[in-house]
């Protein structure tokens, strides 16, 4: 119940995380799993290295989860994020929301992902045969987060136009 946040080097089991969110108040669970792509801009990527700011990261994820719980009246918001080295194809992040009904869980899960990408202190480095490259932040990630401002309390983000 409430907000559940974990940072860990080891892999996680998405099925076990979803199972842990089962509750009589949760009619719906919506989850997202982010995985490491094996190529980037034409370069082969053998692994991703994830660095974080211990302490600040946990606080940032707790804050994002608490915002989602308050906004959609969730049963639970859950974020599990790996740090260290993750091989191509490996799991990086699990984000999920459970609520009485599905619309709130779908919206809240997207909110969690859009915010953890821009508001939590993680940095990705792509590693391959031609060396290591720090990933550049993308403007569209901030735009995805900002769409959640001034938006209806539940339902999908407005994709341009709208009120």
């Amino acid at each position: 119940m409430g907000v559940h946040v974990r940072i860990q080097e080891s892999d996680f089991d998405p099925g076990a995380e979803i199972e842990a969110m089962r509750s009589p108040t949760a009619g719906a669970v919506v989850s997202f799993v982010g995985q490491a792509r094996g190529s980037s801009g034409g370069r082969m990527v053998a692994s991703l290295f994830l660095e974080h700011y211990p302490g600040m990261t946990e606080a940032a994820l707790e804050r994002i989860g608490a915002q989602a719980v308050a906004r959609w009246g969730l049963a639970e918001a859950r974020i599990v994020h790996r740090v260290g080295e993750v091989p191509a194809g490996g799991r990086i992040v699990f984000a999920a929301a459970s609520s009485a009904h599905r619309a709130q869980a779908f919206a809240a899960c997207a909110f969690l992902v859009d915010h953890l990408k821009t508001d939590a202190p993680f940095w990705k480095q792509e590693r391959g045969v031609d060396g290591a490259h720090w990933v550049e932040a993308r403007g569209e990630d901030e735009a995805a987060r900002d769409r959640w401002r001034d938006r209806a309390r539940d339902g999908e983000p407005e994709r341009g136009g709208g009120q």
Partner: protein, 85 residues
């Protein structure tokens, strides 16, 4: 005033260290003044702080603007824009 400064990702690599304990002169009282002081230290700080842009800053583990005031024993962090998820 003595503070702890943390560096992450590309900035950490450029400086060859992830943390420093620094005794600041009395003239450095804000985050913005600390940035300028870092550039004034010479390389590798000058090069890193003037070429890695934008460079975010956190004070007491909260992202802050350059007018945030430093305190004795404060933990300051500098880092490039985040890229998690």
């Amino acid at each position: 005033m003595k503070i702890r400064v943390l560096y992450f990702a590309r900035l950490r690599e450029a400086l060859g260290t992830g943390r420093e304990e620094i005794e600041l002169p009395a003239s450095v009282a804000t985050l913005g003044e600390l940035r300028a002081w870092m550039i004034g230290r010479g390389d590798p700080w000058a090069k890193a702080f003037s070429t890695i842009r934008p460079l975010r800053a956190a004070l007491a583990q909260k992202v802050c603007d350059d007018d945030a005031r430093l305190r004795e024993g404060a933990e300051v962090a500098f880092f490039p824009p985040v890229t998690g998820g």
